[in-house]
Amino acid sequence: MTTEQVSAAESDSSAVAEQASDVPVLEVRGLGRQFGSVVALQDVDVALRAGEVTCVVGDNGAGKSVFIKMLCGLIRPSEGEILLDGRVTEFASPRQARSQGIVAVYQDLALAPMMSLWRNFFMGGEPVKGWGIFQRFDVGYAKEAMQRELEKLGVNLGDPDRAAHTLSGGERQGLAIARAMYYGARVLILDEPTSALGVRQSGAVLRLIRRAAQRGTAVVLVTPKPQHAFWVGDRFLVFQRGRLIEDRRSETLTLESLSYLMAGGGEVDELETAIATA
């Protein structure tokens, strides 16, 4: 996919999103983390803006997962600070990050297999009606609100009463993303959402991610696949051995140059010479 299409998609986004993109929603300064003597990540400065899809790429063990886990409160940084709307914050737990609009969608998705779609959708945030001991789960509203949210993203999962285990991998991602959007995600974090999916479902999930960004969400996406990153990303953060070595906008890249960077940049040259001289 070309950058024209990506920027065309961006221009659909609401005025709100464009205004908001002046102030970074989430910013990190000098972020670092050690595990004992292992430096998993050091000295990372990044600002995430509303309506942008930021792809985090790099080799295995480069620190991508550690980076996003710090963004969503799963891991505490050992250095640096995180700023939300320009103010320094600390997230003690994913729950606290979530309450501030930072939602992570994990690969092993948070769905209970035997529960219906709508029960899963509202798990932990059940809408209620009535008063006192007559307070009850507003089932009618739950089903309707879920369908509305899914429709906004263009996801059709059929019967809301079906059990979650009957969803395909892509549909499960769709439900999880819709749920995150419903709870007003301002920053949506996804770790390799397409890793277990086939081509068609990957395409669908990437389009969902694009739509989420169009609605003014700052999306952070970890993916090892250059094609996926290139199609969906506005911006690319390349990590190598715990450092952020490149921070590039999509206009400055081609699929080839991105693949080159993702494969480890200079290391590819080294590898080629190594093979050639062997």
């Binding site: 209620v128 089932v139 079906r162 009957t166």
Partner: protein, 346 residues
Amino acid sequence: MSLLQLPAFGKARPWVRTAVLRPELGSLVAAVLLLTFFSIASSGAMLEIPTLARVLDTAWPYGIIAVAVGLLMISGEFDLSTGVMVGTAGALLGVMATEWGMNLWLALLLSLLICLGLGLWNGLLVVWTGLPSFVITLGTFFGLRGANVALSKYFTGDALIENIDEAAGFDSLHAIVATVFGTAPSDFRVSLLWWGGFTLIATWILWRTKIGNWIFATGGDREAARAVGVPVNGTKVGLFMLTAGAAWFVGVSNAVRYTSVQAGQGVGAEFFYIIAAVVGGCAMSGGRGSAIGPAIGALIWGIAFVGIPHAGWNSDWRWAFYGVLLLLATLINHIVGERVRTARSG
């Protein structure tokens, strides 16, 4: 335009879908088949009113506790202390009323608080230690089994506590928990209404309240539930208190009904509650089940208990029958669970 299209109904077969959505259906079919079978085997005696009254009277104490045990099982836990808790509740009520001369209503309240406290203890230990609830409640089981008899002997000099009907407040309490409708042998206890009411309320809680959603979520995928903010530990602790409360209700009802309490009673019954819940379609691994299912599971026990001698067989076969039923039900649950798992990864 739809980005994600539905490939029919996943890969699950229709019967798996039904089993997931309506887990109690199998037990309902089994209950009807068994009733029909014993009616034929007893040449109709099974369907006479006195026989049905016996069936229900056998089933209700199991039913009330099984419903609570079923909810706990859906949340992914077991409680092996429910059987002896029945004895604990009865003995507490009996000692307070007969030895200490307490008004029965006060004794009722105090015994409730103590039983809920024991449920709280079970629950807190489970969520704090992370040990299997099987082990923790087995510990409580042995503790109470000893304490019930020892304390009863200490206070009354005997394992049998009698003359509860002489305590103040007996008549009003009896009216509420042990009134009889009809005349023997076609008599029905008010306990049946309590059983029915409790089953209905539990069903409502499970399907129509947010606590119900938490129960399913806690047993369905504990980490997922925690990650989205479900109070997983609170839900479990609450359910351990519920099973203790259900046992208390049965214990005090029987104490008032028979006006005496055998402090050693209830031992071994815990398995029946669990079996009733499993036969009623609750998954031992949690995440699936209903409240009506365990009630039907208890009813099946009543049908077999009364039906087997009526059919002219040695009543010892009851136990074997229940063993077979447990195996069958577990097998069916297991197959459904496997289908769910394969459909999930496929």
